[in-house]
C-alpha cells in the first residue's frame, strides 16, 4: 500500500517505489536510476514499518447496518504502539448513536450498553486481564487484548464532550460468534460497548475515500 511516491529529479515524472522501504527504482520516462536517501538502512530487515493510518471511511460516508441506514458524522482518533485507529461516530436513521471502528481495517459496529443490560458492575481497569471471561446479555466475552492508547484528536460531531483526554485504556473482548465488546476506561466509570465484527462489503458503504490505483 505505501508505495512511496516522489518526483523524478531528472525529468519531473511521477515515480513510485515498490514498497515502504525500497530504496531504488528506475524512472519510467527518462530511465534514470533513482535512489532514496531517507530510508534508515539499520532498520531494513530488522523492523517492520507500520502501514500509514489510512481509513477508507470519512465524514459523510453512508452505510447500512442491520437494515438501518447510517451516516458518519464524527470521529475520534487514537494512537497506540501498533498504529492508529478511528472510532467513527454514526448517526443511525432511528436517531440513535453508534460507532464504527476500523482498527487495522477490521470493522466493528458497536453501541454503548446501558446499565440495565449489563446487570452487574463492570470490571475496573485494574481488574481486567487477558483471558478473563464476562457474560453480558447472555453472551460470553473473553478479553483478547488490552490497549493503552493515546488520544489524538476529534473531528465532526460526537455525542459527548471529548477533547481533554490523554492516555486511555481499552479492553477488547471477543466471543465465539462475531459479537464483541469493548470496555472503555477513558472516564472515571468504565463504559461498555457491545457490538459485532462486520464485513466491509456488508456495510454497503458509500462516499468513501478513494485511493489511487485501487477501486
Amino acid at each position: 500500500m505505501t508505495q512511496p511516491i516522489a518526483t523524478c529529479p531528472n525529468c519531473g515524472a511521477k515515480i513510485i517505489f515498490k514498497w515502504s522501504s525500497s530504496v531504488q527504482t528506475v524512472c519510467e520516462y527518462c530511465k534514470s536510476v533513482l535512489v532514496r536517501s531517507d530510508v534508515d538502512l539499520k532498520k531494513v530487515g530488522q523492523v517492520a514499518d507500520l502501514p500509514p493510518d489510512i481509513s477508507p471511511i470519512q465524514l459523510n460516508a453512508e452505510g447500512n447496518y442491520r437494515n438501518k441506514a447510517f451516516v458518519v458524522i464524527g470521529r475520534i482518533l487514537y494512537q497506540y504502539d501498533q498504529g492508529g485507529w478511528n472510532e467513527w461516530h454514526l448517526m443511525m436513521n432511528d436517531g440513535t448513536s453508534g460507532w464504527l471502528s476500523d482498527a487495522q481495517e477490521e470493522y466493528a459496529i458497536s453501541f454503548a450498553a446501558t446499565g440495565s443490560t449489563t446487570g452487574q458492575k463492570l470490571p475496573t481497569e485494574s481488574q481486567v486481564q487477558i483471558g478473563q471471561t464476562y457474560s453480558w446479555n447472555g453472551a460470553n466475552y473473553t478479553v483478547s487484548v488490552i490497549t493503552q492508547a493515546h488520544f489524538r484528536g476529534v473531528e465532526g460531531e460526537l455525542p459527548f464532550q471529548y477533547w481533554d483526554k490523554d492516555d486511555v485504556a481499552f479492553a477488547d473482548l471477543r466471543s465465539s460468534s462475531r459479537k464483541f465488546a469493548t470496555l472503555d476506561y477513558s472516564d472515571i466509570e468504565p463504559v461498555l460497548y457491545l457490538g459485532e465484527l462486520v464485513e466491509f462489503d456488508d456495510l454497503k458503504l458509500k462516499n468513501l475515500r478513494q485511493f489511487e490505483g485501487w477501486s
Partner: protein
C-alpha cells in the same frame, strides 16, 4: 519506531536522487549490484566512484535484503478470493523442535478497503490466512487443549512451539521486529488450520486454508514455477481421504452388481444335471477291460463349461477314475483323471479326517452337441465293491471368476485406504502427537 504519537509515515515525501554518471550525466544501468565495487557508465565508459553515497545505499540495501528474498516481491498485486491485494510485508520466522530449527515465511497482503490477509509458506506449502472474527472455543481447564472448536468444526491440536522472527521487510499491521517471540499453537482440520498466537499483551487466532503453490503463482502472475512442496504439511488436504468414501461406495455397488450377476445369470443355469448315473466297481470281477461308456447326453447353448461331479462311498479307501468327455459327432475328447478318497480315525489329538467323498471338476469351453463319457475306474484291488455316481452339469458358475472380480474391485479400495492412512501418518509424524510405531512396519522408509 519510537516516533511518538505523531501520524506516521506515508505523508513524508521520499528524498530521491538520481544515480547519473558524474562525467556525462547519462543514466546508469546497474547489474549484479551486490558484487559491484565499481560501475561503468555505458555511455562514456567512465568508471563511477564506488564511494558514491548513493551507490553505497544501494549496495548496503542489496546486501541486507539478498539474505532472505521474498518469493513474491513486495509491491506485487494479486487477486485472492475475488479481492485485489498487494504484498506489503514479509517476515521469516523460526521454531525449534528438538533443537532443529524450522523456518517459514509470512507475507502481509493489504487492500485499503478490505484490510489485511496473510500468506504463509513452508517448504513449498502455502496457506491463505485471515484473522478470526469469531473466537474459537477451547477447554479452559487445559494449558494446551487438544481440541479447538471453530464455527462448529473440531480442530485437532497439532503443535505448540515458540516462534522467533528472524527477518522482516516492509510493512506489518503490528510492530514486528527481529527477535520478537510468540507462542504458536496450531490446530488442524485439513485443509484448514487454526492458529493461536500469544504475545505478551495479546492473543490472536487466525484461520488458514491450504493453497497450492501453482494457485499462488497464478494469483500473483509470478514468473516461472513455484518451489515444489516437500513432505506432507500439517493441514495439507489428503489426496486420498476424499476418495476413500467414493471408492468404498463404488466397491459396494460393484460387488452388489457382481452378486446380482451371479444370482440372476449363473445360478439358475446350473440347477439340473444333464446326466446322472450310479455304478458299481466290482474289483473281483474287474479283470480285463474295466472301462465303459455312458449313455449319450445333450449339451445345449453356447460354448460353455461342463462340470463333472464324482461321489463315492469310500471309507479309508480311494477310487481313481480316468474320464474322457467325447463328442459323439466330431470325436473330440477331453481327458481328465479324478481321485475320490476319504480317511478318518482317532488318535491322541481326537478324531481326524482327510479327503472328501465328493470331487468336482470343471471342463472349460465345451461346444454344444451330443456327448458321452468314457470311464475307466481304478481302485485298491484288495478291497471290496465301491459304489460311485457321476453327475454332469452344463454351464456352471465358476466362483473363481467372481472371486477374481471381487479382488479386482477390492484392491483399489484397499490401496487408496492404505495410502490415505500412510499420508495421515506422515502428517502426524511431524506433530506433537506422532503416531505410535507399533502399526507401522517402517518398511516404506
Amino acid at each position: 519506531m519510537s516516533s511518538g504519537p505523531t501520524p506516521p509515515q506515508g505523508s513524508q515525501k521520499p528524498q530521491v536522487q538520481a544515480l547519473n554518471c558524474t562525467k556525462c550525466g547519462a543514466a546508469i544501468t546497474l547489474r549484479a549490484l551486490g558484487q559491484a565495487v565499481s560501475v561503468v557508465c555505458e555511455s562514456c565508459h567512465s568508471i563511477l566512484d564506488a564511494k558514491d553515497p548513493k551507490l553505497q545505499i544501494l549496495q548496503t540495501f542489496e546486501r541486507i535484503t539478498s539474505a532472505e528474498r521474498p518469493l513474491i516481491p513486495l509491491g506485487t498485486r494479486g487477486r485472492i478470493r475475488g479481492t485485489d491485494y498487494e504484498v506489503i510485508g514479509f517476515e521469516r520466522r523460526t521454531i525449534e523442535v528438538d533443537d532443529i530449527p524450522y523456518h517459514w515465511n509470512e507475507y502481509v497482503l493489504f487492500n485499503p478497503y478490505k484490510g489485511f490477509r496473510y500468506l504463509t509458506e513452508y517448504n513449498g506449502h502455502w496457506n491463505d490466512v485471515a484473522i478470526c472474527k469469531e473466537l474459537p472455543m477451547v477447554d479452559p481447564r487445559f494449558s494446551i487443549p487438544l481440541e479447538a472448536n471453530y464455527l462448529g468444526e473440531v480442530y485437532k491440536h497439532f503443535q505448540t512451539a515458540d516462534a522467533n522472527t528472524d527477518f522482516v521487510l516492509g510493512e506489518f499491521p503490528w510492530e514486528v521486529r527481529v527477535g520478537e517471540q510468540a507462542r504458536l499453537t496450531d490446530y488442524v482440520h485439513p485443509p484448514r488450520v487454526l492458529s493461536r498466537e500469544k504475545m505478551s499483551k495479546e492473543v490472536t487466532w487466525s484461520i488458514g486454508e491450504y493453497v497450492y503453490g501453482k494457485d499462488v503463482w497464478s494469483a500473483f502472475r509470478l514468473p516461472g514455477d513455484p518451489p515444489p512442496a516437500t513432505g506432507v504439511y500439517e493441514n495439507e488436504p489428503s489426496p486420498f481421504s476424499a476418495n476413500i468414501m467414493a471408492v468404498w461406495l463404488a466397491f459396494a455397488a460393484l460387488t452388489i452388481g457382481l452378486l446380482a450377476m451371479m444370482i440372476g445369470f449363473d445360478l439358475p443355469s446350473s440347477s439340473e444335471p444333464v446326466f446322472r448315473s450310479t455304478y458299481q466297481l466290482n474289483r473281483v470281477a474287474a479283470n480285463g477291460e474295466p472301462s465303459f461308456v455312458t449313455d449319450t447326453f445333450q449339451l445345449e447353448g453356447r460354448t460353455s463349461n461342463v462340470e463333472v461331479t464324482t461321489s463315492a462311498s469310500v471309507q479309508n479307501d480311494w477310487i481313481y477314475l480316468n474320464y474322457a468327455l467325447i463328442n459323439q459327432d466330431s470325436g473330440e475328447a477331453w481327458d481328465f483323471g479324478r481321485e475320490v478318497s476319504f480317511y478318518s480315525g482317532h488318535d491322541s489329538d481326537g478324531s481326524w479326517s482327510e479327503g472328501s467323498r465328493r470331487d468336482t471338476v470343471v471342463v472349460p469351453s465345451v461346444p454344444a452337441g451330443r456327448y458321452y463319457l468314457r470311464i475307466e475306474p481304478e481302485a485298491d484291488p484288495r478291497h471290496s465293491n465301491i459304489a460311485y455316481s457321476v453327475e454332469v452339469r452344463r454351464n456352471v458358475p465358476v466362483m473363481a471368476f467372481y472371486g477374481i472380480g471381487f479382488l479386482a474391485l477390492l484392491l483399489p479400495a484397499v490401496l487408496i485406504t492404505w495410502r490415505s492412512v500412510s499420508f495421515e501418518r506422515s502428517r502426524w509424524s511431524e506433530s506433537d502427537h506422532p503416531p505410535s510405531p507399533i502399526i507401522n512396519t517402517e518398511s516404506d522408509e
